[in-house]
Amino acid sequence: MTKNNNVDTTRRNFLKLTGLGGAALCLGFYFPADGVPTLVTPAELTDAEIELCPWIIINPSGKVTIVNHRAEMGQGSYHSVPQIVAEELEVDMNDINVIFAIGNEKKYGGQVTGGSSTIRSSYKNLLKLSAASREMLIVAAAAKWNVSITDCYAASGLVIHKPSGKKAHYGELALAASKLPVPKEPKLKKISEYKLIRKPLKRIDTPLKTNGSLIFGLDKRIPGMLFASVERDPRYFGKVKSFDATQALKVPGVRKVFKVEMSYYEYKREGVAVVADSTWAALEGRKVLKVQWDSSGFKHWSTPEIYKTQNNLLHNQEGMMLKTLGNPTEILAQSTKKLDVVYQTPYQSHVAMEPINCIAHHKGESIEIWGPIQAPGWIQDDISKQFKIDKEKVIVNMTFLGGGFGRKAMIDYPSEAVGVSKIIGGPVQVVWTREDDAALGPFRPGISYRCEGMIANGKIEALKFRMAGQNNDHWRGGAKDKPNRSTSEGFLKPYYESIKNLSIADVLFETTIPTSFWRSVYASTNGFAYESFIDEMAHEAEKDPLDFRREHLQEDRCQKLIDKMEEVSDWKKRAKNEGYGVAITECFNSTVGHIVKVSKNPQGGIKIDKVWAVMDCGWYVNPDIIHAQVEGSIVMGLGAATTHQITFKDNVVEQHNFYDYPLPRINEIPPIEVYIIDNEEDAGGVGEPGLPPFAPALTNAIFDLTGKRIRTLPFKLSDAY
């Protein structure tokens, strides 16, 4: 922010200290002491501001601005990142500004908000930077007053001289502090000393979400901006053969109709854009646009063929080995009493409540983008390459996201918006309809798993997992002669200690359907297969499913998790006519266990009576946000297991909108209890790991009640009993 050379020097010191890397800002919000937030714009942040480190900006008035370098899509980074910084900087949460960083990975490190990585990848640096900043402010105050550093302390944005009671706010000290050397090993608080971290503080963005004032991507407006809607081939690789814009151009407000394309890594998707004065005019114009598509030259897949092919592959190929212990193939071949089953999971769409949208302005020499964006760095890379403009001149502004779930980490929709802007020569917002959003992909891949295993002496003697499903990495140029690195995702590592003969392999399976990350990624499907099969093994061993896991997961954190699950649930009090299911999965360095209780619905089918969830995510910031994320993960997992799926006919998605891709509604949600394991281990992820155990815990509970093993998702609760 500041042009002071000394501050630049300090900034470079921070670079050395943290390994992270100068300042430009986008819209943020100002939170005055009365808690009623108002909008603050970068223009209001003046050159007088001192940037003590990339995350901390101090105004001469004493107002502290904390930068959130990651996307906020509901998971809470906009609150959690400042909650960490405020703790060690010693400022009050209700007296800070929070702003979003623009995409600048040299400065902030990785900004791709995925893999539940925001806290776990940055908290150690954030604590250290914030503590270092606090110490520098104290040193500056002591020097100003000519007193001993040890007689000074920081609290609520002030440095206080204890003997005299003298006070100075950070704004009075920031310039002097910024000229000081950066302490290499600032003193960090112990967990027991935290005043903010680990406390269920209310989210600072909530009031903005109750009165309509929060600006999502779709709400963003740029002066002179037009609106566009794009007709795209329902088949990804379809080409525009011809189009007739006569009727579309007659719609009042429609300005232009032309062919565009968007990139999904090296692949291109074609479409015809209708540009208009308003969203509605663009949508109306698109309704009467006529496009002829050429859908030849690539294979068209239908859902039954996808699963038939996967099943054949799983029975005819060993696949590429990711992990081998002992010799499971030989042992299983000799066994007369082995289980050999196939699990099947569906393709899924993300359908965040805010449909995909993006504003782009191609200005000739530079490009600026605004939108609900999870991956600013990837977009800079891609747009820079595609449009031949230096990466530094591709400015990516993250707005709040109305949900993301991995879809908004893609680079396709911004690239299309830039293409439209380049042709019209001005800013434009490309708006996807719900139908576009739900049915055009990329999708979570539908995957089949062949699981083989045998029991000896009450324990798993041999286990063999094979996966056949699309590898998201292939769309990004990933090698096809190597197994999917995520084939083991979700499966608990301590099993590797107790199961002597084990293999996990990936059988290559490809289609012409685009796939990508979906909340918790492969753990969302792997977890269902693997934890269901562990349950099958427990049944085969005639063991209690929770005890069976306890015996196989001989690792301290797992043992504590299982103990906690047993303690908080009614597991031991299980009654007849009640079904209990357990599942435990690991995802993004956090382990989560669910226990689901089901019963027969008097109206028919299965009723979910209760869900207990226990999360071990190590070091954590805000327990209430964790509770919310796990609750939400369970609801999302419930939908993916029981209410919706994406199916294809000749590569065209058969679903359109919420009427045929139905999401769970309030009347379908069971009571949920969430517990967090307290420990001082390294931080794990929070936004995703709560999802994978739900489906297997549910189907395991249904097995417990009915004796019927569900191996294919989704299934209808109404048909399950």
């Binding site: 009623v36 899509m73 509901g74 998971q75 809470g76 209310k202 989210r203 963005d205 909530t206 009031p207 903005l208 979400k209 109750t210 009165n211 309509g212 004032s213 600006i215 999502f216 779709l218 709400d219 407006r221 609106f227 009042p252 308003s278 969203t279 509605w280 359908v351 965040a352 409540m353 805010e354 449909p355 709040f400 996201l401 109305g402 949900g403 993301g404 779930f405 708006v431 309809t433 719900r434 209430d624 919310a628 994320q629 609750e631 939400g632 993960s633 369970i634 609801v635 999302m636 909108n657 919420f658 009427y659 999401l663 769970p664 509604r665 309030i666 009347n667 949600i669 009571p671 949920i672």
Partner: protein, 155 residues
């Protein structure tokens, strides 16, 4: 010209009578608190009050809104302090927050019509509002809390 009242203010809009109220509110009037979610009355993100009734503005044509009184989330209360808004803040209901304008507008009508809703009443009134983040347990809690708050403010 179509005349209507939006959040207490008379507006004359030069738009087609066929235009959904949603787009008039968002694009013509610039009130972006009302959200586009599905366009087909499935998700409830666009709920506004039309003469006091919760309607889905994405399928409500301007011809129907003509002469009527429209309240959007921006006009629900002056200080973000309708009992539903206060309860939503107290419980920290929203995650991404996108659906919650609609959720709160639906809840406000429920709370007016039925000051002490049961869980079943909440299911019946709120099943038209989808939340992809899965904040439903908190929505339920917040409506009960809003009901309590509303009761107290009346006594």
């Amino acid at each position: 010209m179509i005349q209507l009242t939006v959040n207490g203010k008379t507006e004359k809009l030069d738009v087609s009578p066929e235009m959904p109220l949603l787009w008039a509110i968002r694009d013509t009037l610039g009130l972006t608190g009302t959200k586009f979610g599905c366009g087909v009355a499935q998700c409830g993100a666009c709920v506004v009050h039309l003469d006091g009734e919760a309607v889905r503005s994405c399928v409500t044509k301007m011809s129907r809104a003509e002469g009527k009184n429209v309240v959007t989330i921006e006009g629900l209360s002056e200080n973000n302090d309708h009992p539903a808004q206060k309860a939503w803040q107290e419980i920290d209901v929203p995650q991404c927050g996108y659906c919650h304008s609609g959720q709160i507008m639906s809840a406000a009508v429920l709370l007016r019509e039925n000051p002490n809703p049961s869980d079943q009443d909440i299911d019946d009134a709120m099943a038209g509002n989808i939340c992809r983040c899965g904040t439903y347990p908190r929505i339920r809690k917040a409506i009960h809390l809003a009901s309590e708050m509303q009761g107290k403010s009346r006594t």
